[in-house]
Symmetry: D4
Subunit: 247 residues, 8 copies
C-alpha cells in the first residue's frame, strides 16, 4: 500500500507536476491518520518492524478508544500499555476482541499473525513485588513474537534459589532481570550466563531507595559485563529491547 | 582441558575418595590462577564466551603486568581498558606483542584467532569530544569479533548531518549511540532504525550537565523504544553489549 | 490618570508643602489598590506593558474573586492562570464575561482591545501528554496580542513528523518547544530554524524523569545555540517570554 | 553558491540521471567540508543566519587550527569560545588576524562585515567574579552584530546601585542578567523593565551553591515574568540568544 | 519550687544519706512529669526562659490533650504549633481558654503574664501564598513577648513595593523574611537595613522549586551579610529565634 | 528432616542412579514449598538461625494468608512486618493464634519456643514521632529471643534527659538508636557507652529533612566510633541486626 | 560629609535647578568611588553600621590592593576575608599596617576605633579540623567590636567535654556553633543555653558528607529551638550575624 | 589512677571543702591533657574500652606528633588512621616504635598488650581496587584484639568465586563486606551466613557511581536481613564496629 502511494508521488516528481519540497511533504504524510490530538503511525510495521504501542498513562479513555479504533480499522495489531483498570473496561466495552492482562496493565488484540522467533527470552524477577514490571516485560516480548519464560522470587538474599535455575538461564538468548531495592540481581545473573542481560530497576523499596534510584544506580554501576539498563519500572522498554535482540 | 580436570574430580566423588563438599570446592578452583591480589579467570572463554578484560583504572602497573603475563602464559587474548599512557608504556616494555590505542586507552594482544561475526555494529557519536568513548566502544566490539563502522559529529543540533547517513544506520545489526550534553542522539537514532540502540552518556558538558547526569537521565527517559543505557563514559560496556547482541 | 496624580505630588514637592521622602512614598502608592491580603498592581500596563496576571494556584476562590473584581473595576484585562475547575466555576458565577480554557486552566476577559503583533509564535509539543502546558503557553501569548500556531505530537522518536513541518517552523518569529521525558525536542527544533527557541520542560514521564528534572537538564545542556529555558510545566512563562520577544 | 550546487542536483533528478535518495544525500553534503574529526558547517550563515561558532573546550589546539583554517578559507567570520590562553597563543601564531579577549576567552576574526542591529543589548552582572561570564555574553552579542552596554557589580545586596541605573536598563531591547550565589539579580531586573531578560547563573559561590545549582534553581523559579534561563556559566548562549531576539 | 527540691537533695548528699550518683539522677528528674509517651518539661521556663512548645504534627489528638493538661496543671503558658483544624477542635473541647489561629495553625493559652519586650520584630513575606508561614512566625514571636509588625506581598518582582516600606523595615530590631520560589527577598531586605535578617524559605512554588529547595539554597548563598536561615516552612523557628535576639 | 532428604540424594549420587547436576538441583529444592507467586523458605531456621520474616508491604492480603499458612503447616514461628490494619484483620480472621502489635505493624505467632538470650538490647528513640519505628525494632528483637528495654523522648535538644539514663544505656549489650530530623542521637549515645550502636534514621521531619535523608546522612557521618546504620524507617532491620549481635 | 552633599542636591531640587530623577541618581552616587571593576561602598559605615568587607576569593591581588587603598584613603577600617597566603603577602607589601591571621585567612587594619560591645560571643567548634572556620567567625565578630571567647574540640562524641564548659556557654549573649560531619553540635548546645545559636556547617568529612551537605541538613532540621544556619564554611557570615545580634 | 583522683574529689565534696558544681568540673577534667588545639582523651580505655584513635586527615604533621607523644607518655597504645605517606615518615622520625601499614594508611604502636578475642572477623572485598579500605578495616579490628581473615576479589560478577569460600564465611563471628560500584556483595554474603554483616561502600567506580553513592544506597536497601552500613570508604568504622560485636 505504502509502496504504491510512494510510487505515485515519485512519478509526479519526475514528470514535473510536483516540486521536490512538495514531494517530501507528501511522502512524510503517507503513513499518518491525523486524529487532531495524536498522530497515529499506521505504517510503523513496515518502517520499524513492530506495531505502534499505545502508552495509555495520562491519556483520556475517549482518546485511547479513538486511537485503538484507528489501528483496528487499519488492520494493525493493538497493544496498549499502562492502562488503568477503569480505562481498560471503558475501552473493552467499545472495541471488541481485546485481551486484558491486569497484572501487566496491558490490552492486546491480534489482527494479523505475528511471526514467532526461535530464541528464548527469560524474564527473572527478584521479589514478588517486582512481578507487575516483570509481567509487562514478558507480555511485551510475547506480543511482538518472542517465546518467553519467567522466573520469580530469586533475589540475591537467597542466592541458591537463583543458582538452582542456572540451566534455564543458560538456555536464554536474552535475559530481562527485574529488581527493586538494591538492584543486585542483574549483576549476579550476568556473571552466570553468556546472553546479554537487560536490567530493569523497579520502584519497589522505601526510605533510601528514593523511588527506584538506588536500584537504577546499582545496575548502571554493575561490575559484570553484558548489562544495559532501562528506566525505572520500564517493563515495556525491556521486553521491546529483548525482542529486538531476539530477532 | 577444563573438561578433563572436571572429569577427574567427578570420578573421585563417585569412587568415594572425595566428599561432595570437597568436590564442589575443587571444581570451583579449576579455572583460577591465584595471584594473591587478584583472581585471574583463565577459563572465562569457555564459560562466558569471551576473554577476561583487565580494567586498569586504579591498578598499579606492576599488578597489570602480572595479570597480563598470567593471561599470556595461558594463551588467552589480552585486552586492557582504561590504561593510562604511562602504565601502557610500562606494560609494553615488559610484555611483547601488545598494541596500544591511545584514544581508546586500550592494549590488545591476540594469542588465538577470534571468530568474526557477520552483523555490523555502528558506533555513532554526537560531538568530537565524545570521540574517546566512542573509540573505546568500537575497539571493544572489534576485539571481540564484530565488524564496526563509526560515524562522528552527528549531534542533533544539525539533524540533516545524521539523516544523510540513514543508509549506514539502517545497515547496522546493532547501534551504539554516544552523546554528552543533552544526550538526545540515541532517541533520534532509534526513531530511524529497526536495530537495538545502546545509549552511552558521556561526561562531556559543563554546568548543569553534572558530569554526564543530564545525558544519562535523558537517555533513560527516551520517548523512543528500543534503547538501553550503560554507565556514563562506559564505552567498553556498550561495545561488549553490542557484541553479545551481534553473536 | 497616573500622570495626573504624579504631577500633583511633584508640584507639592517643589512648592515645599511636601518633603522629598513623603513624595517618594506617595508616588509608590499611586498604582496600588490594597486589598489587605494582596497588593493588586493596577498600573502595570503602563509600567510593564502588559496586564497583571493572577496566578490562582494556592489562592482561595474568594480571594481570586476580589482580585478579579478590582482589576475589572479598573478596566484592566483579566487573565487568571493555573485555576482549578472548581475555582473557575466559583469565579465565573460572580464575575461576568470571563472565558474559561479548561485545558490551559485559564480565565480571560478583555476589557480593552489589545494591539495585535505581526510576528508569529509557533508552539511545538513533543507528545499528547504535553498538550496542557503547550496550550497554556499558546493562550498566554494570544491574550497578550501575539498570533499563535500550534504543532503537536512531533517528538524526536519520529523525526520525520517534525521535519515535514519545517516550513511552519521557519515562518515563526519565536518558537516555544514543549517536551517531557528526555526533553530533546528544543535541540532538534533550534537546529532547523533561525528564530529563538524557548524550551519548556514538562513533568511528563516516570521513574528517572524525577518530575521533569531529566527534561530540564537536557534543555539546559542543549548542544544547539538559540535556546533558553523556563521552569518545569511553566507554559505561562514561555508564552509571556515569547510575546516579549515578539513585540 | 549553495543555490547553484543545489540547482544542478535537482536538474539531475528531474532528468533521471539521479535517484531521489542519491539526490537527498548529495544535497545534505553540499555545505560540509569534512575534516575527518569534525564536520565544519560552512554555509550555516545562509541556513541559520550566523557563522558557526567553534567551542574550543576539550579540543586539541591542532584541531582548532584546522577548523579555523577551513572557516578562513571559506571566507567565514571566525569566532572561537572557551579557548585557553595556551591554545589561543598556539592558534594565533598559525592564523593571522585573530583578536583575543582574555577575560571572555574568545578569538575573533571578521572576514566579512556583519550588519549592525539597532536594538541595545544590556549585560548586567551581580558581582566582580561574574565578570568573565558577562564578558563572554557581551562579546558574543557584539560579534554577531548587536550593540552592547555593560553594567557590573550591581548585586541585590545594594539594591540602590541597580536602581540608580534604571534609565540604562529601560533603554535595552533585551537584557542579559548574570549572577552567581543566590542568583536574585534577574528577578529584580525583570521587575523594572519591559524587555525580556535572559538569566545566566554562574558557578560563583561556595558551599551550598553546589557549582551554580543554587543560582540556576533560583532563576528558574523567579517570581518575575519575562525571564528565561541558560546553562550555568553559559555566557555565549545568553549573548547568542540576546542577538536572536534583537534581530 | 525547683530550688527547694534541689536544696533538699544536696543536703542529703552532704549529710551522707545519698550517694553522688543517686543525687545526680534525682536532680535530673525534678523538672519532668513523665506521661509515658512523652516527657513534658515543666521547668523549661526557668532553664531556657520560654515555655515548652507542643509540636502537634504526627501527634494523636488524645496525646496532645494529655500534654496540654499537664502544662495547664503546672500553670505554664500553652503554645501548640502545626495543629490540624480537627485536632484543634478536639483539644479546645477538652481544655478551656485556648485561642486558635487557623492561618498560623496554633493554639495558645496564657496562664501567666509574659513580659513584653521593646524591640520590634518585622515579619516580611514575598507573596500571598507565603502568608501562613509568616503568620506562624509572627504569632510565635508575639506569644513569647515581642511586638510584631507584618508586611505582605512585597516580593522582588516589584521592588518599589518593598522600597516604599523602608521606614518600617529600618525601625525593626530584627526582621523575619519569608519567601518561596527564588527566595530573593531576604537578600534585598538585608541590603536595606542594619538589623539581623532571619530568612525562612517556603515550599511555595512548583517544578524546579523542589519543595522549597530552590529558595533554601538561594538564602544560604545570599550575597548580603547579616542573614541566617531556618528550615523550609519553619515559621515557628524563625519567630522563636527572632524573639531570642530581641531579648 | 532436611538431613534425611539430603542423605537420600547423596546416596543416589554415589550409587550412580543420579548425575551430579541432578543432585545439585534436588538439594537446592529441598527447603522450598513453591506457592507459585513466592518461594517460602521453610528451613531457613536451620540455615540462617531465624524464622523467615514476611514483609507485607505491597503484598495482597490473600497472598499473605497463603504464606502464613504454609509457615504454620511447617510448624515455623510466624512474624509479619509492615502489615496494614486492614490486612492484619483479614489474616487474623483466617489464621488462629496471631498477635497484632498495631504500633509496630506486626503479627506474631510462636509455634515453637525461641531460646532466650542473656544480653540486653536497649532501644532509644529521640522523639514521640519516632515511636513506631522504635517499637518495630523492639518487637523484632524480642520475637527473635532477645530481652529488650525501651527509652523514649530523649532527643539531644534536652541532653540531660538522656544523661539521666546512662546507667540503663551502659547495661546494654547492643543499642538501637532511632531518630528523625537531625539524627544526632546515635552520635551522643555512642559517646556514652561501650556497646555497638545501630542507628535508625526515620522519616520524621519536614522541609529539608527530605524524607529522612538528613538524618541518614548525619548518622553515616557520625564523629563517634561504634555506629552502623540501616535504611530509613527500617526498625525491623535494626532489631534483627541487634539480635544477631546479641547471640 | 554625606549629609552635606545630600543637602546640596535637595536644595537644587527645591530651587528647580534639578529634576527629581536627576536628584535621585546623584544621591545614589554620593557614596561610591567607582574603580571600574568594583563599586567600593565608602559610606557603608553610616548606612549599615559596619565597614565594607572585602571578599578576596576569586579576586586578583592587584584588584584587592586597589580596593584596600580606596578604603584606606577614605579612612575606613579594612577587613579582607578568604585571602590566600600569596595574595596576603602581595597586599601587605603594598599597604602598610595590615595584620594577617593565617588560620582565619583575614587581613585587618583599624583606621578608626571601633566601639566595643558588652555581650559575649562564644564560638564553639566540634573538631580540630573545624578550627579555621571557627577562627574566621571569631575574628569577624572581634573586628566589628564584639568580645569573643572560643571553645574547641567539644564534639558530641564526648558530650562530657562540652558539658564541663556549660558555665562559659551560659555566659554568652550569642553562640556560634561550628561543626562538620554529622553537624550535631548546635542541637546539643541550643538545648543547654538561652542564647540564640548560629550554626555553621563545615565541609569537614568524607564520603556521604558530600562537602558539608550532611552537616547543613542536620542543622536545618535541628530538634532544638533557637538555631539559625549559615552557608557551609561561612565563618564570616556567622561572626557578622553574631555581632548584629550582640549590638 | 582515675579512681584515686575521683575518690579525693568526692571526699572533698562530702567534707564541705568543695561545692557540688566545682566537684563536677574537676571530675570532668581528670582524664584530659589539654594540648591547646586538641583535647586528648587519655582514659578512654577505662571508659570506652579501647584506646583513642588519631584521625590524621586534615591534621598538620606537627600536631599529630604532639598527640602521639602525649599518648605515648601516658602509656597508651597508639593507632593513627588516614595518615599520608609524608606525614607517616615525619611522625616515625620523631616517635620510636611505630609500625606503618601503607595500604591501610595506619601507624600503630603497642605500649601494652591488648587482650585477644576468640571470634573471627572475616573481611571480604569485591574487587582489587577495594583492597585499601578492606585493609583499613582488617588492621583496625586486629589492633583492637580481634583475629581477622581476609578474602579478596570475590565480587558478584563471578559468584562461584565467593561460593567456593562459604566455609570460611560461615566460620566468621562477624563479617565486613567491602564493595564499590553496585555494592551487591553484602547482600549476597548476608544470604549465605548467620553472622551479622557490616557493609562498607567504597568510592571505587566512575560516572553514575557518584563517589560511592550508588554502592551506599544499594547497601542501605539490601533485601537481605542482617546488614548494617557505615560511611563510604570508612574501613576504620567497620573494623571498629566488628570488634565491638566480637567482644
Amino acid at each position: 500500500m505504502m509502496r504504491q502511494q510512494l510510487g505515485r508521488i515519485l512519478e509526479a516528481l519526475r514528470s514535473g507536476t510536483l516540486s521536490v519540497e512538495d514531494a517530501l511533504d507528501k511522502i512524510a504524510q503517507i503513513g499518518y491518520e491525523d486524529l487532531g490530538f495524536a498522530k497515529v503511525d499506521l505504517h510503523r510495521r513496515q518502517r520499524r518492524g513492530t506495531a505502534e504501542v499505545v502508552l495509555c498513562e495520562r491519556k483520556a479513555p475517549e482518546h485511547i478508544v479513538e486511537i485503538v479504533r484507528a489501528l483496528d480499522r487499519a488492520g494493525q495489531n493493538i497493544f496498549c500499555t499502562r492502562i488503568s483498570p477503569e480505562a481498560a473496561r471503558y475501552v473493552m466495552r467499545r472495541v471488541k476482541g481485546l485481551r486484558h492482562n491486569k497484572m501487566a496493565r496491558t490490552l492486546y488484540k491480534e489482527n494479523h499473525a505475528v511471526p514467532r522467533k526461535k530464541g528464548l527470552v527469560v524474564v527473572v524477577a527478584a521479589g514478588t513485588s517486582d512481578y507487575p514490571v516483570a509481567e509487562e516485560a514478558a507480555v511485551t516480548a510475547e506480543v511482538l513474537g518472542s517465546p518467553v519464560a519467567q522466573l520469580h522470587d530469586v533475589g540475591v538474599a537467597g542466592i541458591h534459589r537463583l543458582l538452582s535455575k542456572s540451566e534455564l538461564l543458560r538456555s536464554a538468548n536474552v535475559i530481562v532481570a527485574v529488581a527493586g531495592m538494591e538492584g543486585a540481581l542483574p549483576s549476579v545473573v550476568a556473571g552466570l550466563v553468556e546472553a546479554p542481560v537487560i536490567a530493569v530497576p523497579t520502584s519497589v523499596g522505601y526510605g533510601a531507595s528514593f523511588g527506584g534510584l538506588a536500584a537504577l544506580l546499582a545496575m548502571l554501576n554493575s561490575c559484570s559485563s553484558g548489562i544495559a539498563v532501562v528506566n525505572i519500572d520500564n517493563g515495556f522498554g525491556a521486553g521491546y529491547f529483548a525482542h529486538l535482540i531476539n530477532r
